[in-house]
Symmetry: D2
Subunit: 321 residues, 4 copies
């Protein structure tokens, strides 16, 4: 055998069999260790290691994961204490709150044309549909009432975004299928740095137009909180689902100071060649001092709704052993 290869591991062909568990398959993929099958397997290994090392786990969510049916997977992770803090786009929380009020998403047919959907007051998110009327009755209207209640309860205070989200979480119906409510009950911190870039923001602006000065939410306050979290964690890991602000918000909280991320698992279809953060490999963040040079870093190039449930179900199987 080639002397330089003697110390490398062999690629072993993956076996499959009927009724193999998801973790069986992921473990097989680890034998191969190659290409994205190998990366998927390493992603589970790395997440498992975060948990076994009692690392504080940040989870960043971008993309329309709730409409795509990912809420229970995320809730399972929260309920099993496999996530300590979530950073998400506003849209995911909009959709989650809407579901807490009984809202529904539908599978769209590729034959539906967007101009027809407009006439019918149906909104499209890739291949998922949602009725505008339901949006009004199961999100917009209840939310305006919540804003009213919250503006009374926290009168005169300048809230942080996460305080506002927490106030909302407290008041929405107690449905087990709501990620926000689950996080509220389990004490998992939720940051929504782009709350204004969602219907939460549009409704807040409408509320404030009618009720000037009653709801003041400071854009910078949350940074103090995330720094405190960082400082208190002995070890930290990040599960990055997609890119965007949620990814950067987690990473940048490690920019100043000595603490760095010890583990990063990133699932994305974005490319590095744009130079944007979404597709940037974690290595780049090493130069910035956000991730340790010796951190465990894995990038799975794949679509999140396909990859996340595999990682999550393999992980919970491993942790029950």
């Amino acid at each position: 055998m080639h002397s330089d290869l003697r110390n490398e591991s062999k690629v072993e062909p993956i076996s499959i069999w009927p009724r193999m568990t998801v973790n069986d398959l992921v473990t097989e993929m680890g034998k191969s260790g190659a290409f994205m099958a190998g990366m998927l397997s390493k992603a589970v290994d790395t997440y498992e290691q975060m948990i076994r090392d009692n690392a504080y786990v940040f989870l960043s969510l971008s993309g329309a994961l709730i409409p795509a049916g990912m809420s229970r997977v995320l809730i399972e992770l929260v309920n099993r204490k496999l996530v300590d803090c979530i950073v998400t786009t506003g849209a995911n929380m909009v959709h989650d709150v809407m579901m807490a009020y009984g809202g529904t998403f539908f599978k769209g047919s590729p034959l539906l044309r967007d101009d027809r959907l407009l006439e019918k007051r149906i909104d499209r998110i890739y291949d998922v549909l949602v009725s505008e009327d339901e949006f009004v009755s199961k999100f917009d209207e209840p939310l305006l009432e919540l804003y009213d209640e919250i503006s009374i309860a926290r009168k005169g205070e300048v809230l942080s975004i996460s305080e506002l989200i927490n106030e909302i979480a407290q008041r929405i119906p107690d449905k087990p299928e709501s990620l926000l409510k689950t996080c509220y009950r389990k004490g998992v911190k939720i940051f929504v740095p782009t709350i204004h870039d969602s219907v939460f923001g549009l409704q807040a602006a409408i509320f404030n137009r009618k009720n000037p000065g009653r709801l003041t939410v400071d854009v910078f306050k949350d940074l103090q909180d995330i720094w405190t979290i960082r400082e208190n964690a002995a070890k930290s890991g990040a599960i990055i689902l997609g890119g965007g602000v949620p990814k950067n918000f987690v990473f940048q909280s490690f920019y100043f100071g000595d603490k760095m991320l010890d583990y990063v698992v990133q699932i994305t279809l974005d490319r590095p060649e744009t130079g944007g953060l979404s597709g940037a490999p974690p290595d780049e963040a090493v130069s910035w001092g956000k991730i340790r040079p010796d951190a465990r870093m894995v990038v799975v190039v794949g679509e999140v709704t396909m990859v996340l449930p595999i990682i999550a179900s393999a992980l919970i199987e491993r942790l029950e052993k």
Copy 2:
């Protein structure tokens, strides 16, 4: 000839010749009309039409366009009144302000390793490098002074993000190579909805830690302003560079109400299959009532630093004729 094809345009092979102008080439690509050459040509046609129709032009910026050397191209568009409003990530403005204070970006070699860069206090953005020390002296320190001045000048006020940016723009050195300063002088509105997801935010948090309550910036206030802009525009168009919050922030400002975007040009390498907004084709936004069903919509699948200068130089050539 096939009767159903008689009314379709023929694909004509593209010609090239020495010393052809960028617009000559783009016009040739229009003869072909096919694949991304055709889309690039349509992008210029659509942008030109926006201008000739006196449409209000939103420009959204994501990705590290300033470090990649795009500032003058953007400034040229602003100086020629081809852009009315910019929505950008915080990072682009961080880098722009840093350049206004004399900061420099360097071309990186692919052989530099991130762990070495960390030791040397050099940060990497894809293949561009920036020194941490310069970051401190040419961004962090001046910014903290600006925050101090602004907190005195606007004492007791709750600012919107764009008001804060405007106060910063007013105070930075008057360098022609600063996009922010150029926009300030030309009266081009800048929205930075994710200002907190950048070093602006980190420094603001540091400032607020030392000076509690002196700098309060409301996260929702800007939505009123962008709605006013939308309402006052007879026709509106959007040039979308990359995706992310800047794209959504423009689109969502057309969500409620009757006004919709009349033109959209989107340049991106992101894929639609993630279901996220960044890679979503404009058609999806038609279902939401953000873009007119009969709008001119063009998607150029390509990297922005390569595509934008072509579009911009072809456009300014056409408009000088």
Copy 3:
């Protein structure tokens, strides 16, 4: 509920649980039906339907699936009669024959530099390594002997590529881990239209240089065979792994004549926007009369080594029920 949505299916959140089987997960993904999780589930449904309808199943392979450890997954499909015909790049068969002679692939470290590998005579395939010396002793040398034997056995004949591959298959060691040998034993036809674009071709050219005229392989002959297959099949389906010639070779065999593909499952990361066939959605092939307009067509945007084992293990679980 919105009248137009009443007939659409609801998106149901996916559940996960410890020790769920791969098929359990894929079935859950079907409840959601959205994004790539939904497509993955539809891919298994479609493959299952092909089998239950006794369709003739073409499998096209591109990319380095054998070095990546996919041989046993493919062999499992062949042994269970879930594939009737394989169209592959030459490289996959090169690697398979090399493994039949005892060759090994190794997991590479991302720190290894290609110039060092060149010095050490180690070849890299993405993150997999193979020794040049093993290539010589476990592929090149045995193959030249096989060519010699075959040129004697089929003296004076003009072979088709698949006849040559069949002669090779007959003579390589009878290892259960060889896909080629398994196909030979099971009577699964293998087409390798780009045999010359691989080390099979380079060695054949070397052989022919020394032995002019002893090995003549006609490039067009296989088309007759694949047409005969097409004509004899009541129903046909295609599992397309990656793109390239293997995909087109299957599709184009349905170009003339009345038969069309009834089912297509395509797994790829290639984009449609290049206009090339690799990333083209199956719909395009409908216009050409290669796929029925009412065919079941699924595209899973994902990397093959990650997606294929999931589909295969879910499928064999379903078929054992």
Copy 4:
């Protein structure tokens, strides 16, 4: 200034101006040197260097470049002696021959559905349309006559694929807009390793069914020719448009022996993460000894019809100076 950055080049912002030439813009992009603007500029520099160093230039074509209107750009390169050898898919030559016989491609509307196109006998290639009837009268029928003539002229001979293509090139109408005819007149060698994976192949199979044994084309013969080319070239470069077999066929011709490619420019949207050759960066080929470790290698991530005309027009401007 940071001591480690003193020797690096500064990123300079790109300038644009009205009536700037394509080469002006590409040269500006070189000042920035960053992201894909930088790569595009390096691609032109590298191609220019190949020419100034009298390197033998291989050009590989995949994707439907002829229907997309790229023929004149390619012809310009051939006429100016900027290409010495072309390796292409069969489809590009099919489309080129069809155009030589007066065939036409049309711009498609995105609203046309593939099932309707099937009924109307119109074939779709991404957003380009072609009539089946024209395909018959301007390709299939003339080609069958050519095959008949060639089979008589070269009676009893076993041809290489490039010999067959050359016989075809000789006989098609002498139209300046045919790339194949131009190459024939200019003595530029054309390899079409996947001729059978195109309508050339389907028609050859039809011809051979009716005329058994009259047209024998050996699949391996061309490898001798490409090796001879390699051996005779002092320096060699490759312009790789897309991936697929054309790319590999060029690269693998440098696999055995001491000669390696000195320059590689690759334009593609394919990703490396599939492990397939199409998206693999040139570095991987260094480990195989196909490209010199010190070769100039550039990858432009972009769609070919948009990038190629820019490179070609900048190049011819530079070479006229």
